[in-house]
């Protein structure tokens, strides 16, 4: 019988489609004492390279997964154990883990559950993790979808129910965005809360989603416990209009890829897989029309056309704002429009996709908003 003090760290499941991952670098060494939440390894998921934070506290006794090897989700990648557990036991555990991997008999890792609800006659898709009483709803930005929260959703779901929503026009939801206006999108989110039977929720919105959840708080403040706004649209006027327009019109990878680099501080994160996934989405019938309408909502020439800042000012819902200092789509200068209304947390080394480049900062902000809410 294996020593119960030996803890397995397994390949995480980041996002619905992730089946395997590849360690690109170990950030801790064998024998090192690692604290919980410390950076343990960089993992390439095909879509993006993310940093695995240590789920365990203690001594990293053994690295099981070699750098570069393709490891299935759920397979052991490292072992933690107190120093007094003998090496022989660790060796036996490694052998058992290798055997299990070779036999292909890994336990299914429960990824998010995807479901659909009908709101105003159109299906909205959402992915759920966790089953706590407290409910958090994550709302992506323009052109994004529920999978963009891959590095955030799992941790937030400890003790909570966390829904990641596909806005109308996006992901697996209906592609009809109505007039494409903020009110229309906010009504879809309120309709979603009704449909899943949630009276009050903590709302988290990125970019356009930030403006949408702000509009929800303004229209139905009794439904919103807190707001976390990640690089929200509708604050200030600065925007890279070219990004929005080309994203809507690009039909090929060669047109799209240069724009995607603008989403990150580290352009290498805009992988071919990301471009391919977005093209797969953009090719769906109805998406062109939806994106066109949304661009008209968002842009007035080269400036932002929506005003979420006044909407935020009209509510007293506890709010935390997070912004990447290297945001090139909605530059960080826009954060000035938040004024005294809410705390703004600036994140170094992150671009527009803060929740991908520095998921920890976004999670911390959500935790803070939830605490205040």
């Amino acid at each position: 019988m294996a020593d119960e003090r030996i803890k397995h760290v397994t390949m995480p499941k980041w996002g619905l489609s992730m089946k395997t991952g590849r360690i690109t670098e170990w950030l801790a060494e064998e024998g090192e004492t690692v604290s919980q939440g410390a950076d343990l390894a960089d993992i390439d998921t095909d879509k993006i390279v993310g940093t695995l934070e240590s789920p365990e506290e203690g001594v990293l006794r053994r690295i099981v997964a070699d750098v570069g090897a393709e490891i299935p989700v759920g397979a052991t990648i490292a072992l933690f154990a107190p120093p007094d557990v003998p090496d022989a036991e660790i060796d036996a555990e490694v052998a058992a883990a290798r055997e299990k991997l070779a036999s292909g008999e890994l336990e299914e890792v429960a990824g998010p559950t995807v479901a659909t609800v009908e709101v105003d006659g159109r299906p909205l898709a959402y992915a759920t993790l966790g089953d706590g009483e407290e409910v958090v709803v994550l709302v992506h930005g323009y052109g994004g979808d529920k999978n963009s929260w891959l590095f955030v959703q799992e941790k937030l779901a400890e003790g909570r129910t966390v829904h990641a929503l596909d806005l109308p026009g996006h992901g697996e939801s209906a592609k009809d965005v109505g007039d494409g206006g903020l009110d229309e999108l906010a009504r879809a989110v309120i309709g979603f809360l009704d449909a899943v039977g949630v009276p009050r929720a903590h709302l988290v919105g990125h970019s356009l989603g930030g403006a949408v959840v702000t509009a929800v708080a303004a229209a139905a403040p009794d439904r919103v416990r807190s707001l976390t706004l990640v690089a929200p649209a509708g604050f200030g006027t600065e925007v890279d209009g070219e990004y929005l327009r080309v994203f809507a019109s690009a039909a090929s990878r060669r047109e799209l890829k240069p724009q995607l680099g603008k989403l990150f501080a580290d352009e290498n994160l805009a992988t071919r897989q990301l471009a391919d996934d977005l093209l797969r989405y953009k090719r769906l019938d109805g998406v062109d029309a939806a994106l066109d309408k949304l661009v008209k909502t968002l842009l007035d020439g080269e400036t932002q056309a929506i005003d979420a800042a006044s909407l935020l000012g009209s509510t007293s819902v506890p709010t935390v704002v997070v912004w990447g200092r290297e945001d090139r789509v909605l530059p960080v200068a826009n954060a000035a429009a938040v004024g005294e209304r809410a705390e703004v947390r600036y994140v170094d080394g992150a671009g527009h996709m803060v929740h991908m480049e520095n998921p920890g900062a976004v999670r911390d902000a959500v935790e803070e908003a939830v605490r205040r809410g």
Partner: protein, 337 residues
């Protein structure tokens, strides 16, 4: 929502959804309903390999079971297209195209040009190509280069279920005649395909795998062969960039040239016979337009210049396989002046 379905199901779904969306879409071909000696309507085969199964009863009057006369029904489909329909004709084996070359080459391909853009011919001719099913010399050829050669035709050669659905949807909505080449050995392969409708634009290659050492361009079924080779080569430290052109006409030469500019090496994998095929065409384009980038001679992996043999062992040797691709890649990566 995406789910896993077969290449055959992906084609069937594209047809069904387009028929649902646009009443001008009709399907015609041999054995759509019954075959010689069968009870007819009640036994709707959905074509010789069952690709259109289920459509005959679902869309009454819009799935036409034709006589065994390709010259007649391909001509009829082209005529119906010029008159405003969007016919999808199934020409069982690409090898039988010869009997309707006039209709395809000299009529459908020319109307838009000769009538100053006033006549459109939105016809799709679905057809099976390729070796591997022990169907001998007259049912196994990879003849897509023949159609690629003709201005006025568009030619799609889908390599996976996802490409099959998106390219066929585009083919049906396209205003020009499209020759849609399905590899018979791919029908049972599976992959993720969205339930929703989508189109893959023509003339946009898919970079199936990134790699910095060698560009491998592969057509249709050869894409999976090239990927198997690339997996093996990655173990030997050689990284292949695998490109699937998706359509041979229009051909996305930009993506191929850009890749060769960075790798400096090219291998083209084409199941067709080697004279005037896609391998020679792509090689010529690269030699002409990216000569300065090339660090080794281009390699072509193709069938030999012979009919497809009936003897199984010979047919297996005829079809380019992963080992031949591995050898070709190793020869370009190890080449020294």
């Amino acid at each position: 929502m995406a789910r896993t379905i077969s290449y055959r199901e992906a084609i069937n779904e594209a047809l069904a959804q387009e028929m649902e969306r646009d009443e001008r879409v009709i399907v015609m071909g041999e054995d759509n309903a019954g075959g010689a000696g069968s009870p007819g309507d009640e036994d709707a085969w959905g074509g010789v390999l069952g690709v259109t199964k289920g459509l005959y009863h679902r869309f009454p009057g819009r799935v036409l079971d034709t006589p065994i006369s390709e010259s007649a029904f391909i001509g009829a489909a082209i005529g119906a297209a010029t008159a405003g329909m969007r016919p999808v004709a199934e020409l069982m084996f690409i090898d039988f195209m010869g009997v309707c070359f006039d209709q395809i080459f000299n009529q459908a391909a020319k109307f838009r040009y000769m009538f100053g853009g006033k006549a459109l011919t939105p016809v799709v001719i679905r057809t099976m190509y390729g070796a591997g099913l022990r169907a001998a010399a007259q049912h196994s050829q990879a003849l897509y280069p023949v159609f690629t050669h003709i201005p006025g035709l568009k030619v799609a050669v889908p390599s996976s279920p996802y490409e099959a659905k998106g390219l066929l949807t585009q083919a049906i909505r396209d205003d020009d005649p499209v020759i849609f080449c399905e590899h018979k050995a791919l029908y049972d392969t599976t992959g993720e395909v969205p339930e929703e409708q989508y189109v893959i634009p023509f003339g946009e290659a898919n970079v199936v795998r990134d790699g910095g050492d060698v560009t491998v361009v592969a057509i249709g079924r050869m894409v999976s062969v090239a990927l198997a080779a690339a997996d093996e080569l990655a173990g030997a430290g050689i990284q292949c960039e695998v490109i699937d052109p998706r359509t041979t006409s229009p051909l996305d030469t930009d993506t191929i040239l850009e890749s060769v500019e960075s790798t400096g090496r090219l291998v083209v994998v084409d199941e067709s016979t080697p004279r005037c095929n896609l391998a020679t065409d792509i090689s010529a384009t690269v030699a002409q337009q990216a000569f300065g980038a090339l660090r080794a001679p281009i390699e072509m992996v193709t069938a030999p210049h012979t009919p497809v043999p009936f003897a199984g062992n010979l047919e297996d040797l005829y079809i380019p396989d992963a080992q031949r691709v591995v050898n070709a890649v190793k020869s370009v990566t190890s080449w020294e002046r």
